[in-house]
């Protein structure tokens, strides 16, 4: 057996012998409680734990005598029994009451056990790796334990932190409000007019939430991709002096707490917005409420999601090998023809990914429809109010969740069909000394007309967002003031010296800590998954890919409720800890890392990996020394994105915050609900400033992609700006 397998066998044994098996209330408190005993000490009093104690000894023997098949059997038995006993017995006794009479007689009395602790975590991890080692030894995944182990671990984590909680919620689609099985209700709720109605086409009433969501998502997906592409072309392939500002500004919306953009739009274009009043008083244009409804939501979502499309597109465009375009030029193709037949096909995976992200983001978006939607119903807000609204109908929420998941699945399939199986590799082992040709004139003009007004709008929106917190009442009284800022971030001098008196400090510090923790974890998880999906062949890859996208597609509110349902009781008890927030951030934001990684990887020739493998490097070494350095832009994008998403997310965490773990966004929404826009905007401005600093720091730490490329002949080498290219 390879040394790694033996190492895991030792870890397997250590998990049972030395680490505390149970955590009392949560993993964190394990050490503090009296139950901090390892499995070996607990098993005598709890007979159902005995098999778990015996298995590591067998595993050690199997590892040293090189019996892979036995090792796999042992590891799988350990995992299966761990799950079975963990789910069967919780802190109150038998989870399913019918088990009691059957087995209760054997065990005697009602057994109870608290949630699993670090010992159990390492135990499960080691068992998984041993299963991978055993199977790899028998030739699975070309005998590569790292690949197979990664697949199993990620799969396990996704099943535990995405699939299981989501299922606990979706199962309520076929239950009535008291938890009884009622499949008839599912049909009734599923066919409801408020979901599928088409009254708006006849000009009477509102259409169903499903159609609204779908139409909005397609519109936003298409428009944000086009805008993102236009921005990327302007930034990468033209000599426009606005490159720096474009990169800066296009990044701002993702680092903005969600509702703030909506608020700024209302302050400008609402019925009493200053633009509206100006038009009314100067040109006598009647004031209206056009902003409320699909129009406002579309604009706000475009402001929010175009930058993501931009990040994807700019990464892809920069990786397109100019020598191919140059070759086309040498063959006398015109600029337009080059773009159409060479550049466009090469950036197609990027376009598809950008669209998919825009589409799904739009469907999962919660803040903007809430702020600007008016009577325009979409699924995400409907789900939220099905759970917390006056009707309190969790079954309906689950049904709506099923519809939303269906849409995501459809988008995902369509994207796969369109991108298909063509080859998009342009980063190969050979050096590339080409120079990209200038853009066709028409295209350039189109890009400018799209980009420049949009830039102007963004500038004004951000002037409001950043300045609004530092005037008395934005839109009404523009006397500069520090009052709002000091309410949130005041520092006072008391008896014991300086202290943080502002009411926002607590949530601010917690948010920064949790986001910083989740950032590298999310990026690592996302990129590793991307590499598995793009580079490794294994059965069930499509299903695997879909599972990874699942948490992204489900509205945060559902995730939040599902996490409480799944992780409030043993065996896995996490509610009330900071860890559940980190985990929620990780699995919710991981898909962006995956998309960025896949888009970049599909452009990098496999021959690079193969060269490394031929030279004797194993897959882990290849991943570390060849793939990762090329993936730098994707790493930056994934890190930045997971950090800012963690800082700005609301809906997923609103059910998970506790007194110790308050989050910035929840505080901001609370202030906005109280009409204290000054404080909300001041806090947002501080968050934005901090995130800009963080982005610069990330870029300095990770560094830039260094593919040998000469600059486009339209201008000098532009320093790569803020936007994580």
């Amino acid at each position: 057996m390879p040394i790694a397998a033996r190492g895991w066998a030792v870890a397997f044994a250590l998990a049972a012998l030395s680490l505390p098996w149970y955590g009392h209330d949560s993993l964190w408190d394990a050490a503090a409680s009296g139950e901090a005993l390892p499995l070996a000490a607990l098993a005598p009093g709890r007979p159902w734990l005995l098999p778990l104690l015996a298995l590591p000894a067998l595993a050690l023997a199997a590892a040293w005598t090189d019996r892979p098949r036995l090792l796999v059997g042992i590891a799988l038995a350990a995992l299966a029994w761990l799950c079975a006993e963990g789910f069967a017995i919780n802190h109150r006794g038998w989870t399913w009451s019918w088990i009691g009479p059957w087995i209760g007689a054997l065990v005697g009395g009602t057994p109870t056990q608290p949630a699993l602790g670090w010992g159990a975590v390492l135990y499960a991890l080691a068992a998984t790796m041993l299963a991978a080692a055993g199977l790899a030894r028998q030739g699975w995944c070309r005998g590569d334990m790292f690949v197979f182990g990664s697949i199993l671990l990620i799969l396990g984590a996704i099943l535990l932190f995405v699939f299981w909680p989501v299922m606990t919620v979706l199962i309520s689609a076929v239950r009535d409000n008291n938890g009884a099985f009622a499949p008839g209700q599912f049909l009734e709720k599923f066919t409801d007019r408020s979901i599928w109605g088409l009254e708006c086409l006849r000009g009477a009433g509102n259409c169903g939430a499903a159609w609204n969501t779908l139409a909005l998502a397609v519109l936003v997906g298409v428009l944000s991709t086009l805008l993102g592409l236009a921005f990327a072309l302007v930034a990468v392939r033209t000599g426009l002096p606005l490159k720096g500002p474009i990169r800066m500004l296009s990044l701002l919306p993702i680092i903005t707490p969600p509702f703030v953009i909506g608020l700024a739009l209302i302050i400008m274009f609402g019925r009493s917005g200053f633009v509206t009043i100006f038009l009314y008083e100067t040109f006598d244009i009647p004031r209206s409420r056009w902003l409320y409804g699909w129009t406002g939501v579309t604009i706000a979502q475009l402001l929010a999601f175009t930058p993501i499309a931009f990040l994807v597109m700019v990464g892809v465009l920069q990786s397109v090998a100019p020598s191919l375009e140059e070759a086309a030029g040498t063959l006398r193709a015109g600029r337009w023809r080059i773009f159409r037949t060479v550049t466009w096909p090469l950036i197609r995976p990027g376009v598809a990914n950008a669209f998919l992200i825009g589409f799904i983001e739009s469907m999962a978006d919660f803040g903007n429809p809430l702020m600007l939607g008016g009577s325009f119903n979409v699924l995400s807000t409907d789900i939220f109010f099905a759970v917390v609204g006056a009707a309190q109908d969790q079954g309906r929420a689950a049904v709506l969740g099923v519809v939303l998941l269906g849409f995501t699945m459809a988008a995902f399939t369509a994207q796969r069909l369109w991108v298909g199986t063509g080859s998009y590799t342009t980063v190969t082992g050979k050096g590339d000394g080409g120079v990209p040709p200038p853009l066709p004139l028409g295209l350039r003009a189109a890009c400018y007309t799209a980009v420049l007004p949009w830039l102007a709008l963004t500038v004004v929106v951000y002037a409001i967002v950043l300045g609004g917190g530092f005037v008395e009442t934005i839109g009404r009284d523009h006397t500069p003031t520090w009052d709002h800022f000091l309410i949130a971030f005041g520092i006072d001098r008391g008896v014991g010296g300086w202290f943080l008196s502002g009411s926002a400090w607590n949530s601010f510090i917690t948010t920064m800590q949790l986001s910083a923790i989740s950032m590298p974890l999310t990026a690592a998880l996302g990129l590793l998954t991307a590499w598995l999906l793009a580079r490794q062949e294994f059965r069930g890859r499509a299903a695997f890919e879909f599972l990874t996208m699942m948490s992204f597609a489900i509205p945060g509110t559902v995730i939040g409720v599902s996490y409480i349902l799944a992780f409030n009781t043993p065996p896995v008890e996490l509610t009330g800890t900071g860890m559940i927030l980190v985990i929620a951030f990780m699995f919710r934001n991981m898909p962006v890392g995956i998309r960025a990684g896949i888009a970049s990887l599909s452009q990098i020739d496999k021959s690079l990996d193969e060269a490394s493998l031929t030279l004797g490097a194993r897959s882990f070494r290849t991943f570390r020394l060849v793939i990762l350095p090329i993936l730098r832009p994707a790493i930056i994008a994934a890190m930045i994105y997971s950090f800012v998403r963690a800082v700005t997310s609301v809906s997923a965490v609103i059910f998970l915050t506790t007194a110790e773990y308050q989050l910035a966004t929840v505080y901001i929404v609370g202030r906005a609900e109280m009409s204290e826009y000054g404080v909300a905007l001041a806090y947002s401005a501080v968050l934005i400033a901090v995130m800009v600093l963080a982005l610069v720091a990330i870029r300095l730490l990770v560094g830039e992609q260094r593919i040998g490329r000469r600059a486009a002949n339209t201008g000098a080498t532009a320093p790569i700006g803020l936007a994580a290219s």
């Binding site: 503090a32 009433g205 019925r271 809430l370 009707a391 009404r476 917690t510 609370g670 204290e676 730490l701």
Partner: protein, 341 residues
């Protein structure tokens, strides 16, 4: 890669710096606004020395959370928020019964609320339904100030009235139930159908119409009167509170003990304290202008003058029940919301 490793280490160090949580003596879920909630628990700790942890969420969110946590409750007390979800939680057996020694000191409607739920909840404040109008917008349109529910039907208010969707908002459901009790079901629905022509939006959240009116995005927003006062005072908006002349319904903000809470003794101390004078007299300081339930505490002067409000005898038992609620909501959705403007 070296850098990424450094980063990972740095963030891990950061993690260990995040202090391990210390256990609180009592955990409070609070459904009023942040400032009010924070002020309340701070004062409690100051006066009793008992450490209290507070998490703020809207009443619907809190109810959903308590339901989800029922196998392993995390909180001890649920303070504030409109009474219906408290009653529903009591009906589902999520709350603990407790007869506080403070009960005799409470105003009538607060005790009634407790009796309705077999002493699993109790009233802490009361607020009347009404609406607010933006005086600047009114002047711009040169309209007379509205005074009654009926005024909102006038053709000059077309597209100027905003209310929440009763399917998602307890405030709007209170309005629906109020009108049904005020005039009978048929005339009430007749009114709502006519009102539908003047409505510009049915918002999701019950707090939104008052805020939209404050910003001038709509002329009239239907809301609880204390919420209108709050927007006007803390948001510094030209908003005028109206208590409809025909009479109006009200909400009873409630407090409950959660069944299976881990700190039952301290939770009861909080409960008794929250019904006392010192806890209720501070509410206006934090922007809460409702009527306090302790009869020794005066009504705040900013609060809408109760003597000028005609309150109906709101039948919480009937209109709070799931069956009646579902029936009225279905009828409203079919006959009013889906109708052409």
């Amino acid at each position: 890669m070296r850098h990424a490793g450094t980063l990972l280490f740095a963030s891990m160090a950061f993690l260990s710096a995040a202090a391990l949580p210390a256990r609180a003596d009592v955990v409070v879920y609070c459904s009023a606004d942040e400032k009010m909630c924070r002020g309340l628990v701070t004062l409690f700790t100051k006066e009793t020395g008992i450490r209290a942890d507070m998490t703020r969420q809207s009443s619907g969110e809190t109810y959903a959370r308590i339901r989800a946590e029922k196998d392993n409750p995390r909180a001890d007390v649920w303070w504030g928020g409109t009474g219906d979800p408290h009653l529903q939680a009591a009906e589902e057996g999520l709350l603990a019964e407790y007869k506080s020694p403070m009960l005799p000191k409470l105003r009538d409607w607060a005790v009634k609320q407790a009796e309705r739920a077999a002493f699993q909840t109790v009233g802490v404040y009361m607020g009347a339904l009404g609406y607010g109008y933006n005086s600047e917008e009114l002047a711009r349109k040169k309209l007379a100030a509205p005074k009654c529910w009926a005024d909102l039907l006038k053709p000059e208010y077309k597209g100027e009235v905003q209310m929440a969707d009763p399917n998602s908002s307890g405030t709007a459901y209170t309005m629906l139930a109020t009108l049904v009790q005020l005039w009978g079901e048929e005339p009430a629905f007749d009114y709502l159908k006519k009102l539908h022509r003047n409505i510009n939006d049915y918002t999701k959240s019950g707090a939104a119409p008052a805020q939209a009116a404050g910003k001038g995005e709509t002329l009239v927003g239907v809301a609880f009167q204390h919420d209108v006062v709050m927007v006007a005072l803390t948001g510094k908006r030209p908003l005028v509170t109206v208590s409809p002349c025909e009479g109006t319904g009200f909400e009873v903000g409630s407090m409950s003990l959660i069944k299976g809470g881990r700190n039952a003794a301290d939770a009861r101390r909080f409960y008794d304290w929250a019904l006392g004078i010192s806890a209720q007299v501070i509410m206006p300081e934090f922007g809460s202008f409702q009527v306090p339930s302790n009869s020794d505490v005066p009504v705040p002067k900013e609060a809408p003058d109760l003597s000028s409000i005609k309150l109906i005898d709101y039948d919480f038992a009937r209109y709070g029940s799931s069956a009646e609620r579902r029936r009225l909501l279905a009828r409203w959705t079919n006959e009013v919301k889906g109708a052409a403007r």
